[in-house]
């Protein structure tokens, strides 16, 4: 077998391994970085379905419901994977608290949107987020006069964390 033949064989081998990532992804295993299963949005999430949302509370008690992509400076789908791994699976209490504290601390620094990294959720000017809660929501499609929208049918609190600050401490 000549040089060309070997090259073609090597190329074929690479593409077979690349194609095999499809099954790796389908079974929920880890893709062999830098290979990719390209299974984004492949899972059919026909309503009713469950999704995780985040509720942020600022220092005057105002609440804001956001996507996990708005509380961590990562690509929105990676932020979601991290939040799901921590709060939907059975991560220990210390890990849950740690990620909640990281999210609040990152939100205080804030960050702009770029490509698939979504902008940080922002509190009203002059205020800070001091509480964060993670919910799993059951959503259904509901018809309205203007087409359809997602309606939350039920929700369950997964984890909640509120910062305790010393009296007189400024943020």
């Amino acid at each position: 077998m000549g040089c060309r033949g070997l090259l073609k064989l090597a190329m074929l081998g690479f593409f077979v391994v690349q194609a095999s990532q499809l099954f790796v992804g389908a079974f929920g295993w880890r893709n062999g970085w830098p290979l990719c299963s390209y299974d984004m949005f492949a899972l059919r999430v026909a309503p009713p379905h469950s999704t995780v949302s985040v509720v942020l509370t600022d220092d005057r008690g105002a609440r804001q419901r956001v996507h996990p992509g708005n509380v961590l400076p990562l690509e929105f789908f990676r932020a979601m994977a991290l939040v799901n791994r921590t709060y939907l699976s059975h991560a220990d209490e210390a890990t849950r608290e740690r990620l909640a504290r990281v999210a609040l601390s990152e939100l205080r620094r804030s960050w702009p949107a770029f490509d698939e990294v979504w902008a940080a959720a922002r509190p009203e000017p002059g205020h800070n987020f001091v509480g964060i809660a993670f919910y799993v929501e059951r959503q259904v499609l509901s018809k309205t006069g203007r087409g359809v929208r997602l309606r939350t049918e039920a929700e369950r609190l997964l984890y909640s964390y509120t910062e305790r600050r010393k009296q007189g401490e400024s943020t």
Partner: protein
């Protein structure tokens, strides 16, 4: 039939057209994309502040935690090397340096959020392909500084272009099969995945479109037709390939309009890979006979 398939594979790998030009376009597109990603992308202190999330596997299993200074140095190396690559300065060195530094940077940070799919790693693979060939013969500072044209080795360049073309064509086929495997044909004919994702994460325009849910059924069916056929079209020649590339650009534009996901780091590579041709062989050869070689065409 098998002879035909073999010859098509050979043509793709060893007989690409206008190799120096298309490689140069790819180099500029790849270098610029990596610069933009390394400057604005999520590679900052989050990863040095939160090393407790680092969960390395595969190729990174033995890579230790990087401190803030090391991570910043790696990021800066990627930025400088990719800028040099885009400009074609010390192209062979900057190509390998970009490929290796971005491989480490992108791969290292991906280990913090596993398991989560990779979405921009075609850049890592394509950088390695570009580094294996001489992409600095035209449209580069190297070409401007050289007094004569370097010896042509178009074989490596042709293989690199063929590899990248096959990879992109396969990517769409893989996306189709993933949907079929995980959700069945209903993914395509109901359109409900696109509808639900649009309502969850889509743009204002996408939500406005949800007034007509049947539009999403059409989008689902069109997505299936596109993903099933575009790979084949991209690997053909002439007008069929142009039509495939046009369809891919339209598909990504539509996805951006509805879902806000542009996949720009793939989109910018589609024209140099499938649409741009460069000057004809005759005019390129004529230019190489001029004093200054191919530089004459870059001036």
């Amino acid at each position: 039939m098998s002879t035909l398939k073999r010859s098509r594979f050979d043509t793709l790998l060893f007989e690409q057209e206008a190799v120096p030009w298309r490689l140069a376009y790819m180099r500029v597109a790849l270098g610029s994309s990596v610069t933009v990603l390394a400057v604005y992308g999520p590679f900052d202190r989050f990863f040095s502040d939160n090393v407790w999330l680092y969960d390395p596997g595969g190729l990174f299993a033995k890579v230790p935690v990087l401190g803030a200074a090391s991570l910043a140095a790696l990021r800066m190396t990627t930025i400088v090397a990719s800028l040099m690559l885009a400009a074609g300065a010390c192209t062979r060195v900057s190509a390998w340096l970009t490929a290796l530094s971005f491989f480490l940077l992108n791969g290292y940070t991906a280990q913090f959020t596993q398991p989560s799919f990779n979405y921009d790693t075609h850049l890592n693979l394509f950088l390695l392909a570009i580094a294996s060939a001489d992409s600095g013969r035209v449209l580069s500072l190297d070409a401007h500084w050289r007094s004569s044209a370097p010896t042509a080795d178009e074989r490596a360049g042709s293989v690199a272009l063929g590899f990248m073309q096959i990879y992109v064509a396969m990517l769409y086929g893989q996306a189709f099969l993933a949907k079929l495997l995980l959700s069945g044909p209903a993914w395509f004919w109901t359109g409900d995945v696109v509808l639900v994702q649009t309502l969850r994460i889509g743009t204002g325009f996408g939500r406005w479109l949800s007034r007509w849910p049947d539009v999403f059924r059409a989008i689902g069916i069109l997505t299936g037709v596109f993903e099933l056929s575009v790979g084949w079209a991209l690997l053909r020649g002439g007008r069929v390939r142009n039509a495939g590339a046009g369809a891919a650009l339209a598909f990504h534009f539509g996805t951006w309009l509805v879902l806000g996901i542009s996949f720009w780091h793939l989109v910018v590579l589609l024209p140099p890979l499938f649409l741009l041709r460069g000057p004809t062989r005759e005019s390129a050869r004529a230019a190489e006979r001029l004093p200054g070689g191919t530089q004459a065409l870059t001036d």
